[in-house]
């Protein structure tokens, strides 16, 4: 009977997966993009800052503060990943532009947005692991770099893609 239940759960997870695949990609709006404070994120991930706190705080306080800092960092990464998802949707439309420059910029934006989500997928478990062991150093710096690169490309895309799709969403 246990096996039947396990298999039934696996079978039921297919429609759930379908719902996630189709439902979550339904028409996001530019207004959904959340503000992500990159400097604050970098501060949270700064090893020197961590060393400073470690030196000046009692161990129990350091562990508590460090867990809070890591939790905040996870929030930042989640926000950046969400923004990347929204931007991917709009860049997909821009990629079909007849203008090769716009299409190229959109393709690059998609590439970076996907890379960021990939890094986020790997960085978040790492941060949760660091919450369990607060003394363990962690630096998902590539996420920050990728996010910066992506936002630069959004600027480029915004300047190069003077078309109706994005403004209508605004």
């Amino acid at each position: 009977m246990t096996l039947a239940i396990i298999l039934a759960i696996l079978a039921l997870s297919v429609p759930v997966g379908i719902r996630l695949a189709k439902g979550r990609s339904v028409a996001p709006r530019i207004a959904q993009i959340r503000s992500v404070d990159l400097r604050a994120f970098r501060n949270l991930m700064d090893p020197e800052e961590e060393q400073y706190l470690r030196r000046h705080l009692p161990p129990a306080d350091f562990r508590r503060i460090q867990r809070q800092r890591l939790r905040a960092a996870v929030e930042y990464i989640n926000c950046a990943a969400f923004n990347a998802a929204v931007l991917t949707h709009f860049a997909e439309a821009a990629r079909r532009s007849p203008d090769p420059v716009t299409a190229q910029a959109a393709a690059k934006l998609i590439d970076n947005a996907i890379r960021l989500r990939s890094y986020a997928f790997r960085a978040i478990p790492k941060l949760y692991l660091a919450m369990v062991f607060p003394g363990r150093g962690v630096s998902p710096a590539r996420v920050a770099e990728s996010y910066e690169l992506m936002t630069r490309q959004v600027v480029l895309l915004g300047l190069q893609y003077p078309t109706g799709e994005i403004p209508r969403a605004l």
Partner: protein, 273 residues
């Protein structure tokens, strides 16, 4: 007491007859619609876009008709029918795997950032589900009148477990990275998802309630549910193949100045605290 028992047997018999009749009706409809699906794919020249799915639909219609013929032919026996079903489902399973992999490879091909990683993870997920299916097969060997039927039942469950796992991965992966689906490709995956998940659930439940040596009501019921699901999947595929593919909309036209400012403000909000 004998009268009550007699009535119960008659009722049970008539229920089995109804189930059998319903099953055969669904079976006929499913095979007919599979043929319609194949013809739609050929006439609309969709085989150029989805060659493996065209092959798949061709196979399910031809194999479906062949199995029906074997079922009703006077010169065939139960063993012939079993061989026909096994060959039909075996080829269908291979084509199913090929379609899932091709769909995944097609999705990630346009995204170089995750193409290599995606394919590696797909292989790892497949390996994981192969191990899982083998463990399930070891924990719960199939019930059947003969060793061959048991083996077939376990193989069928293994195939469906693998397909379900691969499809769950495909949908979650594409959902997480927001990879764009063309509507027909999504329809094909949706149909396969409906088919494999229901078939797996029915197989799992049936393996727990079926008796080893009798052709009981549960056999008819499992057959009816499986063929009904198949019919639904064929209808889903037909719908997506007949529906027009929404054309991509790269809009053009000058952007009003205030829209540019809004866009820039949005970017500033991203870049500055």
């Amino acid at each position: 007491m004998w009268a009550t028992a007699g009535r119960a047997i008659i009722q049970r018999g008539s229920l089995m007859l109804s189930l059998s009749l319903a099953w055969h009706l669904v079976w006929f409809t499913r095979v007919t619609l599979s043929l319609v699906l194949f013809l739609v794919i050929i006439t609309r020249q969709l085989h150029r876009q989805f060659p493996l799915f065209a092959l798949y639909s061709g196979w399910i219609s031809v194999a479906g008709m062949a199995v029906l013929a074997v079922n009703y032919a006077r010169f065939t026996n139960g063993y012939d029918y079993f061989v026909a079903i096994a060959v039909s489902n075996g080829v269908e399973a291979v084509l199913g795997f090929a379609i899932i992999y091709q769909m995944f490879a097609e999705r990630v091909r346009r995204y170089p950032a995750i193409s290599g990683m995606g394919k590696s993870v797909f292989r790892a997920v497949t390996l994981f589900f192969v191990i899982l299916a083998v463990v399930f097969a070891w924990l719960s060997p199939g019930l059947g009148a003969s060793h061959l039927i048991s083996l077939y039942s376990v193989t069928q469950r293994t195939v469906r477990t693998l397909q379900c796992g691969q499809l769950v991965f495909l949908f979650l992966f594409c959902g997480y990275f927001r990879l764009s689906w063309r509507s027909r490709a999504f329809g094909i995956a949706l149909g396969l998802g409906i088919l494999s998940s229901t078939s797996l659930a029915v197989n799992a439940i049936h393996s727990q309630i079926a008796t080893a040596n009798t052709w009981s009501q549960s056999e008819y019921l499992a057959g009816l549910v499986n063929d009904s699901t198949y019919l639904i999947a064929v209808l889903v595929w037909l719908y997506y193949m007949l529906a027009p593919e929404p054309a991509p909309q790269p809009t053009d036209g000058p952007l009003p100045p205030h829209d540019l400012e809004t866009w820039n403000r949005e970017l500033e909000r991203l870049l500055e605290p």
